[in-house]
């Protein structure tokens, strides 16, 4: 059982659709990061959220940190083929290192 559970594991949608992916845990995190990994490359940081209830926007991507800091969501509006990739959440427990979730693999078809 992973400390961070991501859902769904796989998502295939058409260009222009909206989607939300989730990152859940029973633990409280001091901060949570979202990374995107494109095929053949390493993960790259998208955003870090640190405050319960925090919402951050990055163009068509909206990230939310749960009020209790146990969960987070990533919402993509009007998905584009360039959004295709593996989305990983990573949480920092107090005094410990980042722990990565299992990832959500997104495919956006033209």
């Amino acid at each position: 059982t992973q400390l961070l559970e991501q859902s769904p594991q796989f998502l295939s949608i058409q260009e222009g659709e909206n989607l939300t992916v989730y990152c859940n845990s029973s633990s409280v995190f001091s901060s949570l990061q979202w990374y995107r990994q494109e095929p053949g490359e390493g993960p790259v940081l998208l955003v870090t959220v640190v405050t319960g209830g925090e919402v951050k926007k990055l163009k068509r991507l909206t990230f939310q940190f749960g009020d209790a800091r146990k969960d987070s969501s990533l919402h993509i509006t009007a998905a584009q083929p360039g959004d295709t990739g593996l989305y990983l959440c990573a949480g920092a427990l107090a005094g410990n290192m980042l722990t990565f979730g299992g990832g959500t693999r997104l495919m956006v078809k033209p």
């Binding site: 390493g42 410990n96 990565f100 979730g101 299992g102 990832g103």
Partner: protein, 112 residues
């Protein structure tokens, strides 16, 4: 800055062979990590280091060894390659344990 560099990009090993995966970072980060990523899966931590001369096991250390003689370099050693070690290996570094991790481009390893 080159960031995190890894060599080689791709390697095929026979069962029982050994090899070293190289990782170098030029950001003066104290923390360095080795992960493996199996097809369609997330990242599993193999080993990490909090500074030169200090290393510790991660989630899946069996079959691997590491060393950290300098701040910049963090090589990963496979002593007796097994088919189960077929994977993509990523090295990463960060300023501290909770800060952003910067990843290298990965080494794709195939053990036959």
């Amino acid at each position: 800055n080159a960031g995190v560099t890894q060599t080689p990009k791709f390697r095929i090993l026979k069962i029982g062979q050994s090899m070293t995966l190289q990782c170098t970072q030029d950001m003066n980060h104290n923390y360095m990590y080795w992960y493996r990523q199996d097809p369609g899966m997330g990242l599993k931590l193999i080993y990490y280091s909090v500074g030169a001369g200090i290393t510790d096991k991660g989630e899946v250390p069996n079959g691997y060894n590491v060393s950290r003689s300098t701040t910049e370099d963090f090589p990963l050693r496979l002593e007796l390659a097994a088919p189960s070690q077929t994977s993509v290996y990523f090295c990463a570094s960060s300023y501290s344990e909770k800060e952003t991790q910067y990843f290298g481009p990965g080494t794709r390893l195939l053990v036959l």
